[in-house]
């Protein structure tokens, strides 16, 4: 493949143009990461006056701590639930919108709006909707004979954070699925129709397999989102409760570090999260390279 080569007149211009991005990355990403790495090896005294080097003791403690292991499985459940819910809802919406002709753009625009809402606002929104005392959904569920209370029921709380987090992500998934659907040539669908496949069969034997690169990409993005980007939603709805039922890894970093002020442990948890992100990124790139395997 040939790529066009751009050349700059001077040596400094390209570096100057790159500088803002590099500086932002260094200050807001690299430096804090290194700081976290360093702090994960220290232990501070109760007053934050001095700290001692403890090696990997913070990590050892974490993996011996039941609440941390519990938080791991909560996170796994939350990530899987959020990914499944937001992706299946988005796929359903995309498949439906893709069938429309004139109203397609209007629906697309409307469906993308939730993505622009700040996580905290979205959290508050769902907090109102699901509020056991004043919310509309508990009221409706009550009529169906279910007493919703995410303040006391861990399952209800988990459902709430999954719904709130998934809802935010549907718009993003929807856009990618819609683009994926539109890149499937219409003639393939027509050929399948002539070949005797009904709409449902066509979807599962032709459309869905051809969407697999998109699906895989979104899966990784959604897992990353659920694991790292949902602090705002959880903070606004359940704050990790009741009794740690929704205390995901990210939320726990905040709770242990800024509420519990155990900075060493919190930093160690961030380092573990970083490692998970790195792993997911590697998986994604590995597969994306081979994604056009049909």
């Amino acid at each position: 493949m040939q790529t066009k080569r751009m050349t700059f007149p001077g040596r400094w211009l390209p570096y100057a143009l790159l500088a803002p991005q590099v500086i932002v990355t260094l200050i807001f990403f690299i430096w804090p990461s290194l700081q976290a790495l360093y702090m994960s090896l220290l232990r501070e005294d109760a007053f934050g006056l001095n700290s001692t080097f403890v090696g990997l003791a913070n990590f050892a403690r974490l993996f011996a701590d039941d609440t941390y292991l519990d938080s791991l499985s909560v996170t796994a459940m939350f990530a899987i639930g959020t990914t499944l819910l937001s992706m299946s809802a988005a796929l359903l919406l995309a498949a439906t919108v893709n069938r429309m002709l004139r109203s397609r753009n209007a629906y697309t625009t409307l469906l993308v709006w939730p993505y622009a809402i700040a996580p905290a606002i979205a959290g508050v929104l769902w907090w109102f909707i699901f509020n056991p005392s004043i919310g509309i959904v508990p009221y409706a569920l009550e009529m169906l004979g279910y007493r919703w209370n995410h303040r006391t029921s861990g399952n209800d709380a988990m459902m709430l954070v999954i719904i709130a987090a998934a809802w935010k992500q549907i718009a993003y998934n929807f856009l990618f699925f819609l683009a994926g659907l539109q890149s499937i040539p219409q003639s393939l669908i027509e050929a399948a129709a002539i070949d005797g496949a009904g709409p449902v069969k066509r979807f599962w034997t032709i459309v869905f397999p051809l969407l697999s690169p998109t699906t895989f990409f979104l899966m990784v993005v959604n897992v990353v989102y659920a694991m790292f980007d949902t602090f705002g939603v959880i903070h606004a709805t359940t704050q990790g409760g009741p009794s740690q039922a929704t205390n995901t890894l990210v939320y726990k970093v905040y709770a242990d570090g800024f509420v519990g002020l155990n900075l060493g442990s919190s930093a160690a948890q961030s380092v573990i999260l970083m490692a998970i992100v790195v792993l997911l990124t590697v998986v994604q790139f590995r597969f994306i390279e081979r994604r056009v395997n049909y």
Binding site: A192, A193, I194, Y294
Partner: protein, 365 residues
């Protein structure tokens, strides 16, 4: 299983009000190969897709065999279609591509294998059965697309410009193969193309479409020899037929002698069509017109040459096709000749063919 196809006043109107097909009547006999030909936007693809069931029918009736199929799904019409872009399922092997339609119809595994292998043998794609479409060349994909139509043993084959994505050499080769295959299977076929040469060589009969209507139906030679309208005259044949206003012959040099010869033209004749190869440099025996013109451009095309000339007096441009390479030079004044029976008279307003003294079988309009 075979079947005839019958189109009765078929119309297609899109929601916006655009009418793509404006009342088409056509009968395709059992086992016949009919080519729909016309310029882009003439409605030929829409018509084919209506027969396939991929476009709804706004008005009229469509019969495949004895069944009225207007409301049937594509799968229920017992047709198979070859698409312009082949529409192979990219995530399936060639075998699965061919087997997909059979699997959907609940064929037994052995039967599927037998049919796929038979079709693959016929099309010489056996070696590619385990491969994915992206590993095949354009011509091989084309064969797989044909194979997918073949295995189903449908009543009707529909071809939607299947050769237009191939390079020129391969196109000629596949054209011959399609014809050979259709001769052998004797399956009723409807074939859409914008390429008049493809249409002429493939079809038992041609249907020339223009603006959503049929201009003419007939065997390739009928249409070539007796185009029913100015549109057909210029669309079929390459280089295109020359169109000469009658006035250009009745004025200028030699007008008097022309007048005598053209006296028996049907009333209303305004335009004369002349095939480029009907204009000869040597004078023929018998009565003929002699025209003089200046050679503007000489094109040598191997076995034949094209002479672009301008008539003396009226300045009308004409194209002459001759065999070999005549000894002429650009800028030279030439005389060439045309016999009376090589003139195609067309009405001055409607552009329809006017039947002259050489009547043969009349086309049902």
């Amino acid at each position: 299983m075979m079947a005839s196809i019958k189109l009765e006043g078929l119309e297609k109107t899109y929601p916006g009000g655009v009418q793509a097909v404006k009342g088409v009547d056509l009968e395709v006999a059992d086992g016949e190969f009919v080519v729909l030909v016309g310029p882009s936007g003439c409605g030929k693809s829409t018509l084919l897709r209506m027969v396939a069931g991929l476009e709804t029918i706004s008005a009229g009736a469509l019969y495949i065999g004895k069944r009225r199929v207007n409301e049937l799904e594509p799968a229920q019409r017992d047709i198979a279609m070859v698409f312009q872009n082949y529409a192979l399922y990219p995530h399936m092997t060639v075998f699965d591509n061919l087997a997909y339609g059979l699997k959907n119809r609940g064929f037994k595994r052995d039967e599927i294998r037998r049919r796929v292998e038979e079709a693959a043998r016929m099309l010489e794609i056996e070696a590619f059965l385990p491969r994915k479409p992206r590993q095949l060349s354009g011509g091989q994909r084309q064969r797989v697309a044909m194979g997918r139509a073949l295995v189903r043993e449908p009543a009707v084959f529909l071809f939607d410009e299947p050769l237009s994505n191939l390079d020129a050499k391969l196109r000629v080769q596949m054209r011959v193969e399609i014809k050979r295959l259709q001769r052998r299977l004797k399956t009723t076929s409807l074939y859409v193309t914008h390429d008049q040469l493809e249409a002429m060589t493939l079809g038992d009969r041609l249907v020339v479409l223009n603006g959503g209507r049929i201009e003419q139906v007939g065997t390739p030679m009928e249409i070539y020899a007796r185009p029913a309208s100015l549109f057909v005259a210029t669309f079929i044949g390459s280089p295109a037929m020359n169109l000469l206003p009658l006035g250009a012959l009745l004025s200028g040099p030699g007008a008097a002698s022309h007048g005598a010869l053209l006296g028996d033209l049907p009333p209303g004749t305004g335009i004369l069509g002349i095939r480029p190869d009907a204009l000869r440099l040597e004078a023929p025996h018998g009565p003929h017109l002699t025209l003089s013109a200046t050679l503007e451009l000489f094109e040598a095309a191997g076995a034949e040459s094209h002479l672009h000339v301008r008539l003396a007096g009226s300045g009308q441009p004409l194209v002459i096709r001759t065999a070999g390479q005549p000894a002429v030079a650009e800028g030279q004044r030439l005389h060439f000749h045309i016999t009376r029976d090589a003139l195609h008279p067309f009405h001055r307003e409607t552009g329809r063919r006017l039947d002259d003294t050489l009547k043969t079988k009349e086309q049902a309009a």
